[in-house]
């Protein structure tokens, strides 16, 4: 019955969340270099202070259609599994991360939402647009349904 903190963000009309521990930083206005021959859910590469970050568009991966890049577009840069290990994170958190430095493209950032693990329910069967393997669970917030993203599956290379 633990309290968990999630970073929430919008992609299209959906409100998604990932464990806040996984978030390294959030970048606005970045230049993304496209990589030809890469899969469609890969937006490209970003130069983050000398390091190369692979940017993924989760909306394409999970099947809710691509997003347009607007002024509000942001990129959530995630921590690598090495970073999480050196910070002594829980194993289940480390499981969710990958070795490479990746970022995900979002339409807008939301607040940090604290929820009790009691409140997490299984995803309802009627969310047909999003494949259930990408959702760990849902939380009913006051106005919206908060979808907890299975970031590991989103970052999977299939």
């Amino acid at each position: 019955m633990a309290e968990l903190q999630y970073a929430s963000f919008f992609i299209k009309d959906f409100l998604f969340g990932i464990n806040v521990v996984l978030v390294r930083e959030i970048i606005t206005n970045a230049q993304i270099t496209q990589v030809d021959l890469s899969k469609d859910y890969i937006c490209g590469l970003m130069n983050l202070r000398g390091q190369i970050v692979t940017i993924i568009d989760p909306s394409i991966k999970i099947g809710i259609g691509g997003t347009n890049t607007s002024a509000k577009t942001k990129y959530i840069i995630l921590k690598t599994s090495k970073e999480l290990q050196s910070k002594g994170a829980d194993n289940n958190i480390i499981q969710q991360s990958v070795e490479d430095i990746v970022g995900i493209k979002i339409d807008d950032i939301g607040d940090i939402i604290t929820i009790d693990s009691k409140e997490i329910e299984l995803p309802p069967a009627n969310i047909t647009e999003v494949d259930s393997k990408y959702i760990v669970g849902v939380v009913k917030l006051k106005e919206k349904l908060f979808l907890l993203l299975n970031i590991k599956n989103v970052l999977n290379t299939d």
Partner: protein, 964 residues
Amino acid sequence: MSLQDKELLTELISESQEHLSNIEPLLLELEQKGENIEDEKINSIFRAVHSIKGGFGFFGLKNIIDLSHTIENILSKIRDKKLKITVELIDAILKGIDKLTYLINNIDESENISIEEELQRLSIFTQDNPKANNTLQDKKDTLVKQGDNIDIFGKHNISKQKIIDALKEGKLLYQINVYHKTKFNEENLPSADLFKEWESLGDVLDILVDKEKNSAQKESSKEGTNLSVIFATVLEPDLISQALNISQEQIYLIDSQKIKQELKLAANNKNTTDSTAEKSNSKTIKKDLINKEATSDTFKEDSLRVRISLLNQLMNLAGELVLSRNQLLQNFGNTIDKYINTNNLFNIIHNELNKTFSHFSIKNTVNGKELENILKKESENLFKNILSALKIKLSEISELYPIIQNIDQVTSLLQENIMQTRLQPISILFSKFPRIVRDLAKKCNKNITLITEGQDVELDKSIIELLSDPLTHLIRNSVDHGIEDPQTRKKLGKNETGQIILKAFHESGKVNIQIIDDGAGINTQKVKDKAIQKGLVSKEQAEKLNDSEIYQFILLPGFSTAEKVSDISGRGVGMDVVKTNIEKLGGTIDISSAINKGTTITLQLPLTLAIISALIIKTEERLFAIPQVSIEELVLVRSHEITKKIERIGNSEVYRLRGKLLPLVRLANILKIPATYIDPQTKERKIDRRLRWSDRRGVAKEEDELDTLNTQNLTENRRKGEKDRRKHIINSLKIIVLRVGENLFGLVVDEVINSEEIVVKPISSYLKQCGCYAGATIMGDGRVIMIIDPNGIVKIAELKFTDLKKEEEKSKLKEKIKEDFKEYLIIDIGTQERLALELSCLSRIDKVEISHIEQVGTKEFVRYSDLSIPLIRLHNYLPLSAPQPQTDSKKHQMIIIPKTEYNVIGIAVEKLFDIVKTNVKIQQDYIKTNGITGSTIINNKLVLILDINEILFRAQKEFSNEGK
């Protein structure tokens, strides 16, 4: 264990590991040379084991101590030539060393691991060997007894420190009873000088007058004193008696374990004093260890142990520095440009002043005109002032040039040197193979020698680590599958001992590692059959494959032609792992083989991982980097030459590069980017619908192209409006000739930008799937661009180089055949004979009206276009039968105009029979005379081949003679 102890232990472990790695090759040498081995080498092995034993003695790790002690004994016997060097002996020692290595690597569990097997094996040899050739007494006699109840702390007054030091150095403690002639007592104490001879053998820790013995002795009226000496030495119990020349009854071995326990007990009781004592212990021990290190390897270079993580950090920092330097250089250049762009500045000033002026409505008055002039003058003055101020600024910037150059150079040197810190000689990798080959060969009952070359070749540490497994697998393959057993080899007439050569060398910027065996070679038929069996190819496809394609099957996972699977190999798991590992390093594998002769596997690896020289190119508005090491040359094909030089073979296009066929690949096609071109007039990018370069309508003229090149300003030319874009310089082909293994191919790009040193950043696993990228890098302006992997391009384009080789040979043959074939025109001049002229000698064939033929003296001339040319009849120049008389009704005369360096001449012919292409030999034996080169049979008729040049020469002479 305290922290210092832990540190000590770690250091001890790494030192011991070094010792152990030095032992193995020496043992193998010992096996080979037997008794002929140099003494020094045996001593080295002995010293190494001894150091290990001594080092661990202090930590009380019994298993390690016992095992090393046993090995030491054997080595000492070998040194004394008491043991015969046999394979079994070396095997036992090697196994012992292996176990020792294992114990040391797993220090925490070393006490729980059994060493019984190794001790047993070794104990066979510690029994006395009849080969012993010394006159020492039976071993038992020379062994001193263990002394019980020797109270060294009570009776003797030795500092615990001395004891600890001695024990730590692996020395044994003895209590020796000595009878000295001199009378000593409390006033006249004995000194260590008495035992000077012993000094070289050990340390005299204390000398005590043995009161008990002395009191007992008083009655026997012997003069002299009984002394009790505590002596610390490395000498073993069986040697000490002889060494000191004292009967072994007088020597007692002190139980070191007991002493250690006593020491520990004492330590627990006296905490405060001991903690400082311990600290000084560890300091002295550390010092001792360091001293040992200094003395033992005085012939090595001064070196330092550095953490690998520190080196990695240095590498990263050097990489960042290179990036920043690139950025600095680029921005510096841009800044200069901005300052130099003064023209624009003038316009800006002028415009601004004009603007202000136009606010005033006095423009059209007389005063207004004056004002305008003044304004113009002022703006000019202003401009001049600003320019002179800028010039000062410029000179300041130009002073920065040398500084920036310096930074540039130092950065490059720094990066190079840091790279070198990570370079290690490949010998550390090669050193483990002699043992592996020896053991494996024994297991397979084969005789194999391993020869290594190029031990000094240096590679980045990370590459060496990743190479270890693949190389091991390849060597095992050679031993298991490659080299045949001695009987088979004898039957084939080969030396019964097989040979594997492991070679490393530098070539074209890459490190090559070759494994060459003189074994059975790869049976291509077997591989083909297995491939068909696995459903990888059909039977028909398999027949079309060439050797190198067949070898590629071996690299597939799960592929093996071994009939039985041994525990060494044959499961089909190894080769694809080798391939993956090598490719991870950015390398390539090449296999070549010949049945019954052997197999050669070549690995090519890049020299450095992080910073490389690359060529920046542009295609379809995207920039890419191509590693310099793969680039052979750059070729520019001008647009008017494209149709000439680009040929088609099958579905691919090739370029003929000095006789060799170079397959061409368009980078944009590989990356599936739609091809576009720039319309020279509208300067728009449009989609290029042409599929191939060779599909060009018409041929652009060379002169047009040259014009565009000769003009100083290309853009000016573009403005002139080159209507035909095919002739445009933009549409010439830029080909980058890349080398992959032994093959070359051409990558077509839009533009070559420049050459740069770039930091290779690895790409994430997501992008590795694309297959054509070797990494990414950050340009000076912060942009990310991809680094192309030529290997990947070859794979994606499915370039088949062997087909090209076939084509090359075919076309070479064609050329040759072409040369032999000649075209002849067979004519009749009204005589019986058939004459032939080489078609290449002819200019024209024409008909003239008889009326146009005029006679001047004996010569005939004919009006031909505007000229009057001589007309000759061949029968006048050749030994031929007279022509049949002409019929008067003839209106026209056919004439042939040959190609000639002399004046134009016409040859009268009656009939043209045929044009024949033949390579038939011209016989020169029978009919050889002026005007005829020989004869041949064409269409079953004898034909005389005319020597036109000779005939023309004669004709020329005649006609010019007439002139005289």
